[in-house]
Symmetry: C2
Subunit: 119 residues, 2 copies
């Protein structure tokens, strides 16, 4: 009786995806669906090409958060848009990062004694 009550998911991230992330993924999925339809391809045809099932393609087009990035990336690749993926978080266009980088450029994060909880 007590056992079933304690049903805390092991993965907190997937258990409660922040709204902005959910919204972003849904838009991405919609974009992928539009890209497929414009090329007049079926989910099954695309699935075969990338070596998966049509359900995974469908999941990605719905923006399902738990689907592997490989699925999303494979769709981008199929539509000739793979280059856009590696532009995400590009250091050259990451303004916040670029500004911050001018001072320190490390290979590990580090506590500098005090000011740590800023952010």
């Amino acid at each position: 009786m007590m056992s079933a009550a304690n049903t805390k998911p092991r993965n907190d991230l997937l258990a409660a995806v922040p709204y902005q992330i959910e919204a972003g993924l849904k838009k991405l999925g919609a974009n992928l669906k539009t890209a497929r339809l414009r090329r007049n391809l079926t989910t099954e045809a695309v699935a075969m090409k990338i070596g998966t099932s049509r359900f995974v393609v469908s999941d990605a087009e719905k923006g399902k958060p738990s689907t592997s990035i490989a699925a999303y990336a494979a769709l981008l690749w199929t539509y000739g848009l793979i280059d856009q993926l590696s532009e995400l978080a590009n250091p050259l266009t990451d303004e916040v990062g670029t500004t911050l980088a001018l001072s320190h450029e490390r290979s590990r994060a580090r506590r500098s004694r005090k000011l740590n909880n800023d952010f």
Copy 2:
């Protein structure tokens, strides 16, 4: 003896990720790592913020294909870069798609009798 020989993975996509996809994911992972370090955050701090373990953060920074897109998206979100995600495959900047779309704009793909194997 025959049983073990037939070890075909269930997921063909993850079993053999195309090179371009692998390369793109690795670059993305490197970008995410750079973004984190510029902000002087530890993998553990970021992991806590997004509700996962530091190993998942590490996996994403390595560009692991089987990691959920939620993990990648959460990192982008943490660094204030989530908007870039929904710009992927944006129909407005998908040249190939835009050109093709001028003729048909469907909600399902369709075989038009013959010419199907083009692409």
